[in-house]
Amino acid sequence: MIELKPLSPATGLLPLDIGGVTLREAEMAALTLIAPYMGREAQLTEALEAAHGLGWPQAGETSASGAARLIWFGRKQAVLVGAAASAKLAAHAALTDQSDAWSCVVLEGAGARDVLARLAPLDMRDVAFPVGATARTEVFHMACSITRIEAQSWQIMGFRSMAKTLVHDLQVAMEGVAARAKPALT
């Protein structure tokens, strides 16, 4: 019998370490898109609280409980990461398994924000984009989701079919930032 081996979207492309900024692939996790049915938002919020201990994230926010994270993902949408969605949510929202649809990479390091600044038209100062903030925006012409998971760590989600493009665009920006870094005085 043939055993199929799962491959992550960026297999063979990552990790990268350029100029002190690293780009690695996030662990493959179950992703469930949650889109509340019209008029059922309040019931969904209760069900989410009961089943996962998670609040419904407002625009640009994430909520977390243990390993489970709920990331705002657009108007009336959020994506659940790190936990299998409870079947009890299905009465109040459309649940879609999108585990295979997204490529998740993590950009880390002191210059990570400078790398993103080359690619995304987003205000990423601490006051505008603190840890836990998220945005749907573009990363070099491609629609992506950016979430600040730690002070110097950003998770970027792009379409799985465009994983190579995403990695390439990030790599070029990382090389650009590294080349611009001030040389050490000798």
């Binding site: 019209m38 108007r75 038209p121 573009e138």
Partner: protein, 90 residues
């Protein structure tokens, strides 16, 4: 240009795409007659000044927006979710 999306906040215009005048939301009744439908489909004013437009935040939150824009200065005024302007129907 920067557009203040009611959900995402002020964002660069490259995240948005333009549809046309917000008149498109005022769809005539099915039996309104040929003249009303012809007017709805084809006739638009071309003002020098404030106008109401439909924009789509396609690279962002995927909301349809009704934005006030000054066609002379490209200055944006109030931006609202089309859902709130039109009223959402289940």
């Amino acid at each position: 240009m920067r557009i203040a999306c009611p959900l995402c906040g002020e964002r660069d215009s490259r995240e948005f795409s333009y549809k046309g005048h917000a008149l498109a939301l005022e769809r005539p009744a099915e039996d309104a007659g040929v003249a009303a439908w012809d007017d709805y489909l084809h006739n638009r004013d071309n003002p020098a000044g404030l106008t109401q437009e439909l924009w789509f935040h396609d690279m962002g939150c995927a909301s349809w927006l009704v934005a006030e824009r000054n066609t002379v200065t490209h200055e944006f005024g109030a931006v609202r979710l089309a859902e709130d302007v039109k009223g959402a129907k289940p």
